[in-house]
C-alpha cells in the first residue's frame, strides 16, 4: 500500500490543476453558493459546538469566571476520571477487536451453511434494540440472584449438579453457650464429651418453615454411651430456655458431628431424625466439632456486576450487540472477494485454516480495518450501557469518560465547565482515530 501511495503522490500535481481551474476559475461564487447550505449546517452543528465546548471548558461551574486550564487540571487530579480513562482504554483495546473477530468468524462460517441467512438475521437482531433496552436486558442477565439473573442461574445450576449444598445454610450455634467458632467456619465445644452425659448442640438461625418435611421434635439423648442432640433451639413464637431441648423444638437431622482429639478427628456421626447422635466409646474425652460443611451458604454464583467484573460484563453485552454489525459488514466484504483466489489456494494444497489465514483475512483487511475503526470511535463514546448496567455501588469501578462527562456536567455536580473539559479531551482522543480513518479513505480513493 505504501508503494501505491508514493506512486500516486508523484504524478498527482501534474494533471488535476487544469481541471480545477476550469471548474473554480470561472464562477467561484457559484461553488460557494452550492457549498453554503452544507457549510452552515456543519458550522452550526459541528464547528460551533466544538468551539463553544472548548471555550466553556475554560470557565468555572457557573460559566461566569474564567479559570484558564484549571478544569483540565482537576480532570487529571481526579481519581474517578483516571478510572474512567483507564476503563475507556480497556474498552478501546478489547471491545472492537473482540466484536470484529467474532463478526469475522460468523461471516466466514455463515457463508458455508445453508441456513446462513437465518443465522445472520439472529446475530444481527440485537443491533435493532436500543442501547438502553439492551442495558436493561443485561442488567437482568447479570443479576446476582440466581432466580432472576440467567447468567448466575446457569452457573449455579452447573455447580449444584456437581457439589451438593449443605443441609442448614446459615445456621449457627446459640451464642453464649459451650460452643465457639473455630477455624474454617466450624464450631467446636469447649468442654469434652463424656459417656453418660448427653451433649447439647443447640443451633439457631434456621427458619422453621424451611426445615425438611417430616422433621420430628427433638429428643434429649439418653443412654450410657457418648451421645448428644442437635436441634433447632428456637420454637415458633419464642419462649423456651436457651440450650435446653424444650417441648416443640425441632430436631435437625443429618448434621455431621466430629469427635476431635488433639486436632485429629477420631470419630464422626450424623444426627438421626430425632436429632440424637451417638459416638463410639473410643471418642470419650474428645471435643465435638460441627464442621463448616453443615452450614455452608449455598453457592450464589459469580458477582458479575461487582467492582472487579463489571467492565468485562458490560463489554460482553456490547459485543452481543455489535458482533452482528461487524458480521454484516464483513460478510458484504466477503461477497466481493474473488473466489478464484481461494480456489487456487485449495488446488495448491492449502487447508481451510491456511486459506482463511493467508487468503481470506488479507483480502478482507480493508473491511476489517473499517469495522475496527468504526467500532473504536463508537466505543470511545459508550455511555448508555455503562450507565444502565452498572449498579450504583460499582458504577465508580465501571466509569468511562463519556459517563464521567455526564456525571460532572449534569449528574449532580452541574459543573459544565469540567464536563466540557472532559468533552474536549474525548475529542482529542478521537481525532487520531479519525485522522487515520480519513487518511486510509484517501489512500483507497487514489487506488
Amino acid at each position: 500500500m505504501a508503494t501505491v501511495a508514493t506512486a500516486g503522490g508523484a504524478p498527482a500535481p501534474a494533471k488535476p490543476p487544469a481541471k480545477r481551474r476550469s471548474l473554480m476559475g470561472t464562477r467561484p461564487w457559484v461553488a460557494a453558493l452550492f457549498l453554503l447550505p452544507a457549510l452552515v449546517l456543519l458550522g452550526a452543528l459541528v464547528v460551533y459546538p466544538i468551539g463553544y465546548t472548548t471555550w466553556r471548558s475554560l470557565y468555572d461551574a457557573g460559566g461566569a469566571r474564567f479559570v484558564g486550564l484549571e478544569n483540565y487540571g482537576s480532570v487529571f487530579s481526579d481519581d474517578s476520571t483516571f478510572t474512567a480513562l483507564k476503563n475507556t482504554a480497556i474498552w478501546v483495546a478489547v471491545a472492537p477487536a473482540l466484536a470484529t473477530g467474532l463478526g469475522l468468524i460468523f461471516a466466514v462460517l455463515t457463508e458455508r451453511v445453508s441456513w446462513g441467512t437465518a443465522f445472520k438475521l439472529i446475530v444481527f437482531m440485537p443491533m435493532v434494540i436500543s442501547m438502553l433496552a439492551a442495558g436493561i436486558i443485561f442488567r437482568l442477565v447479570y443479576d446476582a440472584d440466581p432466580s432472576r439473573g440467567v447468567a448466575n442461574a446457569v452457573i449455579v445450576g452447573v455447580h449444584d449438579t456437581f457439589a451438593a449444598s449443605s443441609a442448614y445454610p446459615g445456621a449457627k450455634p446459640r451464642p453464649g453457650g459451650d460452643i465457639t467458632a473455630t477455624s474454617g467456619g466450624s464450631y467446636t465445644t469447649k468442654s469434652t464429651a463424656q459417656p453418660g452425659t448427653p451433649v447439647a448442640l443447640p443451633l439457631i438461625g434456621i427458619p422453621a418453615a424451611k426445615l425438611p418435611a417430616g422433621t420430628q421434635d427433638a429428643k434429649t439423648a439418653s443412654g450410657s454411651g457418648l451421645t448428644g442432640t442437635v436441634w433447632l433451639d428456637f420454637a415458633p413464637g419464642g419462649g423456651g430456655k436457651p440450650g435446653v431441648v424444650d417441648q416443640g423444638e425441632e430436631a435437625l437431622k443429618g448434621v455431621e458431628v466430629q469427635a476431635v482429639k488433639g486436632g485429629k478427628v477420631v470419630a464422626t456421626a450424623k444426627s438421626a431424625a430425632d436429632g440424637t447422635f451417638s459416638l463410639p466409646a473410643s471418642a470419650a474425652g474428645a471435643q465435638l466439632r460441627l464442621p463448616s460443611s453443615n452450614f455452608a451458604q449455598p453457592y450464589s454464583g459469580v458477582d458479575w456486576l461487582g467492582p472487579s467484573l463489571v467492565t468485562p460484563a458490560i463489554i460482553g453485552s456490547y459485543i452481543w450487540m455489535w458482533a452482528g454489525f461487524a458480521m454484516v459488514l464483513i460478510a458484504a466484504g466477503l461477497a466481493g472477494v474473488p473466489r478464484e483466489l481461494m480456489e487456487a489456494a485449495r488446488v495448491d494444497g492449502a487447508n481451510e485454516w491456511q486459506v482463511f489465514r493467508k487468503v481470506t483475512v488479507p483480502l478482507l483487511a480493508p473491511v476489517l480495518i473499517v469495522v475496527l475503526v468504526t467500532l473504536m470511535i463508537n466505543v470511545m463514546k459508550v455511555f448508555d450501557l455503562v450507565y444502565i448496567i452498572a449498579p450504583q455501588p460499582s458504577q465508580p469501578a465501571a466509569n468511562v469518560l463519556a459517563l464521567q462527562l455526564y456525571v460532572s456536567s449534569f449528574g449532580g455536580g452541574n459543573n459544565q465547565g469540567l464536563g466540557s473539559a472532559i468533552g474536549v479531551i474525548l475529542l482529542l482522543l478521537v481525532i487520531p482515530v479519525m485522522a487515520f480513518n480519513i487518511r486510509r479513505l484517501r489512500r483507497e480513493r487514489r487506488r
Binding site: A61, G62, S80, A144, D145, K172, R174, I204, G205, I206, P207, A208, A209, K210, L232, D233, F234, P236, G237, G238, G239, D303, L305, G306, A390, P391, Q392, P393, Q395, P396, N399, V407, F410, G411, G412, G413, N414, N415
Partner: protein
C-alpha cells in the same frame, strides 16, 4: 438519581397503625409552642383565607417530579388556583433528575414559572447562581402565619426567602413484617437502639434475617446514618455537619458510624449479609421484607413512602401484615425525626408565580391537596380533619408537633455532588462502609475528602 427523588416525592400513607405514630409524636414532640393545630384557625373556613390577584388570561408553567396519582392530586391544587385567579396553569413533569431538567431549561432561557425542588441543597445551589426569585410580601405573610420557623428557614438562602415547603415526608420510620415478629415471639417494638439490636438478634435466632438494607441505592444508607446521627449527636451537631462546619472526621461521626456498624457489621442481622445488601436496591429491600414465608427480612427502614410501595408491589396489607414503628432513639438522645419535602420556588419574576406560591403557602391549598391522601403538609394552620385517614393524620401531627426539632435530610442539604449523586460522595462512601463496616476512620476520611471538595465548589 432515579431513586433519590422517589424518597422525597412519595408521601403516600397507608393504613398504618396509628398508635405507633402517635407514640412517635409524643416521643419527638418539642415543647409544643406551636400546638395550635387543634385550635382551628380561620384559614380553613371557606375560600377566603388567602387573597389572590386576578390573573385572567395569564399562562403559568409549574414543574415538578410527580407522576401518576401524586400528579393527579397536585392537579387538584392547580385547578383550584385556576378557578380562583383565572390563570391557566400547565404542569410540566421534570423526570427524575429535577436539577438537571431545570438547569438545562434555565440555561436555555425558558424556565417554568414555578418549580418544586426535592432537595434543599438544590435550592441553595440555584439561589447562589441567582436563578431563583425571592418571594414577595404576600407569600411571606402566608409563610409567617402557617409555618413554623424551621420550615420557613429551610426555604431561605442567605437571609432571603425563596421557597415554600408545601409537601413534606417523614423519614424516621421502621416498617416490619408482623408475621416475622410473631414467629419470633416479639410482642413489642423497640424504642431504643439497644432494644432494636436485641430485637434483630431474636429475629435472626428465629430464622428470619432481621434487617433489609437497600445498599444498592446510596440514599437509603445516608438516611440510616442521618437518623442515628440526629438522635445520638443532637440537632445542633446535625446542623453543623450538614453545613460542613464540623468535619466528617469529628468524633461524633465516628460514634455514629460505630453505632451503625453494630448493625451493618453483623452478618446475621443484615439480610443477605453485606454483599447481599449491596446488591439490594430500595424496591427489592421493601418487597423482600413483605413477601414469602419466611420473608427474606423482617424489618426495613425508610420513610412514609414505603407504605404506598408496599401497597403497589406486594400482597401485604399495610396496617395488618406490615406495620411501622418510629426509628429508635440512639444513646441518650431523643428519637429522631428526619424529614424531607418538596419546596416550591419561583424561577421567573412574574406576578403569577408569586400568586401561585402564595396559594401554596396557604392552608386552602394544603386542604385541597391533603383531601386525596398520600400527602403530609408541615402547614400548621391545616386542620388535621383535612386528612382522609388516621395514619396521615398521625404522621402530619408528628411532623407539626415536632415544631423546630425535626431536621431535614442531611444529604439533601449537601451539594448534590456530595449528597445526591449515584456512585459519588456520601452515597458511594457509605456503600464502601457497608462493604467493610470495620473501617470507620477510613470511611470518615473519605467522607471528609469528598465533602471538602463538594462544599468548596
Amino acid at each position: 438519581m432515579r431513586t433519590s427523588s422517589r424518597r422525597t416525592r412519595r408521601v403516600i400513607i397507608g393504613a398504618v397503625a396509628a398508635a405507633t405514630l402517635t407514640a412517635a409524636a409524643a416521643g419527638c414532640g418539642g415543647s409544643g409552642n406551636d400546638n395550635k393545630t387543634g385550635g382551628g384557625s380561620s384559614a380553613s373556613s371557606g375560600s377566603g383565607s388567602v387573597t389572590l390577584p386576578s390573573l385572567n388570561g395569564q399562562k403559568l408553567e409549574v414543574a415538578a417530579v410527580w407522576t401518576g396519582p401524586e400528579q393527579k392530586n397536585f392537579l387538584k391544587v392547580i385547578n383550584e388556583f385556576e378557578k380562583r385567579t383565572g390563570a391557566s396553569v400547565s404542569f410540566v413533569p421534570t423526570g427524575d433528575n429535577v436539577s438537571t431538567f431545570l438547569g438545562s431549561k434555565i440555561e436555555g432561557g425558558q424556565p417554568p414559572d414555578v418549580a418544586f425542588l426535592p432537595q434543599v441543597g438544590v435550592l441553595r445551589q440555584f439561589a447562589a447562581k441567582g436563578w431563583l426569585k425571592p418571594v414577595d410580601s404576600s407569600v411571606q405573610a402566608q409563610l409567617d402565619k402557617n409555618f413554623s420557623k424551621g420550615w420557613v428557614d429551610l426555604g431561605a438562602y442567605q437571609g432571603k426567602q425563596y421557597g415554600v415547603y408545601a409537601k413534606a415526608a417523614n423519614k424516621s420510620l421502621v416498617w416490619y413484617n408482623t408475621s416475622a415478629f410473631e414467629t419470633a415471639g416479639l410482642s413489642s417494638t423497640p424504642t431504643t437502639w439497644a432494644d432494636f439490636l436485641k430485637t434483630a438478634q431474636t429475629l435472626f435466632e428465629s430464622g428470619t434475617p432481621a434487617v433489609s438494607v437497600g445498599g444498592a441505592d446510596g440514599w437509603t444508607l445516608t438516611d440510616w446514618f442521618e437518623n442515628i446521627y440526629l438522635s445520638q449527636a443532637g440537632p445542633e451537631k446535625y446542623d453543623q455537619l450538614a453545613a460542613h462546619k464540623i468535619k466528617w472526621t469529628d468524633a461524633s461521626v465516628k460514634q455514629a458510624l460505630t453505632t451503625l456498624a453494630q448493625l451493618f457489621g453483623n452478618k446475621d442481622l443484615v439480610a443477605g449479609g453485606q454483599s447481599g445488601a449491596l446488591n439490594t436496591d430500595f424496591p427489592k429491600s421493601v418487597t423482600q421484607t413483605f413477601t414469602g414465608n419466611p420473608p427474606k427480612a423482617a424489618m426495613v427502614y425508610e420513610g412514609d413512602f414505603v407504605g404506598s410501595f408496599i401497597k403497589d408491589n406486594t400482597t401485604a396489607k399495610v396496617g395488618t401484615n406490615a406495620k411501622v414503628f418510629p426509628f429508635p432513639a440512639v444513646g441518650s438522645g431523643k428519637a429522631p425525626v428526619v424529614s424531607g419535602g418538596d419546596v416550591g420556588v419561583a424561577l421567573k419574576s412574574s406576578k403569577g408565580a408569586q400568586a401561585f406560591l402564595t396559594f401554596l403557602a396557604s392552608a386552602d391549598a394544603a386542604k385541597v391537596w391533603a383531601s386525596s391522601g398520600g400527602f403530609v403538609s408541615p402547614n400548621k394552620s391545616l386542620e388535621l380533619s383535612a386528612y382522609p385517614d388516621e395514619v396521615s393524620k398521625a404522621i402530619a401531627k408528628a411532623l407539626v408537633a415536632a415544631g423546630d426539632d425535626f431536621r431535614f435530610d442531611m444529604s439533601d442539604q449537601a451539594p448534590a455532588a456530595f449528597g445526591g449523586t449515584a456512585g459519588k460522595g456520601e452515597w458511594a462512601d457509605l456503600q464502601t462502609f457497608l462493604k467493610n463496616p470495620s473501617d470507620i476512620s477510613g470511611t470518615q476520611s473519605k467522607l471528609e475528602a469528598d465533602a471538602a471538595k463538594a462544599y468548596a465548589g
